[in-house]
Symmetry: C2
Subunit: 194 residues, 2 copies
């Protein structure tokens, strides 16, 4: 009879410990021993929850996506004007606070690592591109886009801008603080809307 207890919550705890290790020591520092220590567990205990290190890796990656997804879904519950909604969604992706910055930094580390292991670990598809397409399509449906806008180019531009700002916020948070990010995003959205 399995203990109904916090098996899954424990897995999340370990995954979050992995995040913290990656944040602190980078991907090369994300060893099972470091992660176990950060999580306050023994090697054997960690190995009980995750058979191999790769199992932990994909679990930790999925957790990032799940958390981000939940945060974004929350925005839909608010009542916002179309433009406000678009801006709010983008600001939930780009690192404007500690949570989002951690997730984004860890995500980049994952992606860069997994890229060279695509034979054994399948690279998760980028949801940001999809979201960008949807947001711009939404603005167009609402007749908010300037007539001079070319959809295909606008998608590429906003998509690049989001990840570019995300990178800069991760690598240089003191230069590109949250207020500056916010202003830039709003500036861009304003520039493509009537």
């Amino acid at each position: 009879m399995p203990k109904i207890v916090n098996h899954d919550e424990r897995k999340n705890t370990i995954a979050e410990a992995m995040w913290r290790v990656i944040l602190d020591k980078g991907m090369e520092g994300a060893t099972v021993r470091n992660i176990a220590e950060e999580a306050g567990l023994s090697l054997g205990a960690l190995r009980y929850y995750f058979k191999t290190q790769d199992d932990l890796l994909v679990y930790a990656m999925d957790l990032v996506r799940e958390r981000a997804k939940k945060r974004i879904e929350k925005i839909l519950l608010q009542s916002l004007s179309p433009k406000e909604l678009v801006i709010a969604m983008i600001l939930e992706i780009v690192p404007v606070n500690t949570d989002t910055r951690i997730e984004m930094e860890v995500w980049f580390a994952f992606i860069a690592y997994v890229k060279h292991r695509s034979d054994t670990i399948d690279v998760p598809d980028d949801q940001i591109l999809e979201m960008t397409e949807r947001l711009l399509g939404f603005l167009q449906d609402q007749q908010l886009l300037k007539s001079t806008c070319q959809m295909e180019m606008e998608i590429e531009r906003l998509y690049g801008l989001i990840d570019g700002i995300a990178i800069h916020a991760v690598l240089n948070p003191e230069r590109l603080d949250s207020e500056r990010i916010r202003k830039t995003i709003i500036y861009h959205i304003d520039s493509i809307c009537r």
Copy 2:
């Protein structure tokens, strides 16, 4: 009496071998043994040219910057209109061909790695931000910028766009090919110029 021979060229050869290893196996695969094998040298030989692995790392990073710098300086020798010049410079940074893609990918790997070793290796400053500032300042001096443009925001936006597109070109080159990059950059520059 030192042999005048290809000591420095050999160092470049090794550094480029390191690039190839990083490209193929990622930063975790960039061990001295892998690099030595890729360069066709023994461990001892490699160690003769670079006392420690960190020495090789900073040398290989500097080589990336040096190569990029030279390529950009070449553009100044051409006779281009202001707008053409700006676009040409941006396209020399962003990965539109094999050389630039290799450099950009390796550069990102370096930056991500060095970030967690800032105590022992000093993180090189970002020249792209400087260049972006200069390019936009140049456009303004030439009276080419639209009056609605806010300089500070335009810098942040172009800077983000450049690195964002660079990331996307590195991670997904078959989707974001060179033609698409070119079109996007030109589209953006056109959008901020009269």
